[in-house]
């Protein structure tokens, strides 16, 4: 187990182009599982490749247990990356794959067999020793890849969306297996994903990576309930926010006024609420003093409807309604939320505020 420090790291490809990563600073404590949540192209995989040593940072430094990684070759870092593809060696059995690293270290046949059995048991594949990689399902192959990685006794484990190629039930099962395994092994892990549910389910903390910048690092609950920037909000399903002016804890715009119970960090902050905390009512209903708008989009999601309401000034808000509520696109509605539901959002740097 090791601490990882990523200190003001930047990266840009030698052949040109903009910054893939800019001023990224992260601390991963020993035994912590940090999820990096980001969209495709946000720089997640590049960040991991800087840790493996495939790329060297253009700026900043990376330290593992306070030891700078600059110039340390990949094979000496004891940092292992698991990617979307299991990449098992097709020329050897499951046992051969898992025992690959122990054999390199000169462990005896008996020691290797014991370690392989122990690791296969850990990933729930006891008895699979003699299977060949082409006889395994995608989920089983990923489990073997995980066992093979653990057999190398890494100090840091990097996971680059390892379950994203799998069907939803198997992905969910493997997330459970991995979380349990992490609880037992307490291996310092960075897990990058673009899937919100995965980041929420696995991470001790979640870092939001937006266009090569870390915009927020916090517990899954705080990231989900109170994203601090528009970029982080986007990643956790808050896709719309209100523009306006601050008057203390009141925020007003052409669409109306809302009460917020949290001070904005600067006057440029906008306001948002989680869709499930926003209520929508037919505007003919009496006694409601909400924001007025018209339903612009309605999507059935099984457990609820996603409703997009276009406000008077053209901005939008997303809400969720129960499936038994009857609304239609074009209906005039009133939107409201409790003061605690609204929160300020700092505009992301990339939005050029």
């Amino acid at each position: 187990m090791s601490d990882v420090t990523i200190d003001a790291v930047g990266y840009r490809y030698e052949r040109g182009g903009g910054d893939v990563l800019a001023d990224v600073s992260l601390e991963v404590s020993s035994g912590e599982l940090l999820c990096v949540l980001g969209t495709s192209g946000s720089g997640k995989s590049t960040l991991l490749h800087l840790l493996t040593g495939l790329f060297e940072p253009s700026k900043g430094r990376i330290l593992v247990d306070d030891k700078p990684m600059s110039g340390v070759p990949s094979h000496k870092r004891q940092i292992i990356l698991l990617s979307q593809k299991a990449l098992l060696f097709p020329f050897t059995s499951v046992e051969g794959n898992v025992a690959f690293s122990p054999r390199l270290r000169g462990q005896s046949k008996r020691e290797r067999a014991r370690r392989v059995a122990e690791l296969l048991d850990l990933v729930g594949l006891s008895g699979f020793e003699s299977r060949m990689p082409n006889e395994l399902s995608g989920g089983e192959a990923q489990r073997v890849a995980l066992a093979r990685a653990l057999a190398a006794d890494p100090t840091v484990l990097l996971m680059d969306e390892p379950f994203s190629n799998l069907d939803t039930p198997i992905r969910s099962e493997l997330q459970g297996v991995f979380r349990e395994l992490h609880e037992r092994q307490k291996l310092t892990t960075m897990f990058v994903t673009h899937q919100l549910d995965e980041a929420m389910a696995l991470g001790d903390r979640v870092a939001c990576l937006v266009d090569g910048r870390i915009e927020m690092v916090d517990t899954p609950v705080d990231v989900y309930q109170r994203p601090s920037t528009t970029g982080a909000a986007h990643l956790v399903g808050v896709e719309h926010w209100l523009e306006g002016e601050w008057h203390g804890l009141r925020f007003s715009g052409p669409w109306g006024t809302v009460e917020v119970d949290e001070e904005p960090t600067d006057s440029g902050c906008v306001v948002a609420a989680r869709p499930e905390h926003v209520n929508v009512t037919a505007s003919t209903a009496k006694g409601l003093d909400g924001i007025q708008g018209v339903i612009a989009d309605l999507r059935y999601r099984g457990a609820h409807f996603d409703v997009t309401v276009e406000l008077l000034d053209g901005s939008c808000l997303r809400t969720q309604t129960a499936v038994n509520e009857s609304h239609a696109v074009g209906d005039s509605v009133s939107v409201s939320a409790s003061p605690g539901a609204w929160f300020p959002l700092r505009k992301s740097d990339t939005e050029g505020t």
């Binding site: 493996t52 990949s74 094979h75 390199l104």
Partner: protein
Amino acid sequence: MFSAVDRSRWIWNTFGFLFLIPLAVLAVQSVALRWFFPQLIPAEWQLEMTFDVLNRNEVRSALWTSTVIAAMATAVSLLVGLPAAWVLATKRLPGRSVIIGLLVSPQLLPPLTASMGLNISFLKVGISGGLIPVVIAHLVPVLPFVIGIASVTFSRLEQGYILVGRGLGLRPVEVWRRIIWPLSRMGIGLAAYVGFVISWSQYLLTLFVGGGRVVSLPMLVLSSGSGSNLSLFSALAFLMSIVPIGLFLLVRRGPQGV
């Protein structure tokens, strides 16, 4: 109706049969004394002359010369071609298509023109008339095939394996030995086999660049073909064929890679 397996087996058997017909005719002809159309099998047989072929000094010498030239040309082309194929398959290379074009260009000329041109070039720089110049000349037709086959093999190789290997603690050279080699040995074996056969079959290049002093098996086969002894010609041609076939079986029986 045929199942997919039956169909595949049937197709392979047909191909195998068609492939074996000329070889079988050569084998029979090499032990036939009198065999004229429309006889299905020879009217008279002989074995003496056929077995005598291997005992002839010029045949043994040509067999050895051909083997040495083909083995050396294959070895050198693997030594030069594998790194080149790796770069072509895995790196962004400016002028990649120009390099491939240059490699392939001699194949676009008639063999006689290419061989004579090469011979004249070799004469001008004073490297003609020996085994080594012949090996160097054979690289011209051999290298493009070795590079081409190896390059396809390497481009099919998942580059993530390198990272996996490095992560598991392998130095770059060990990644090659323990991961890339087992994953690509089938393709590299095929490249070596094709390279060997191309060199093994060269006639004009050996004749011109060897200046008549280097006598390979194809030269012997062709010169015997111009004579009247059909059995001798068939025995030599058969001999010339079984070496590549033996090699092919060796490559095919080798361990499977990707």
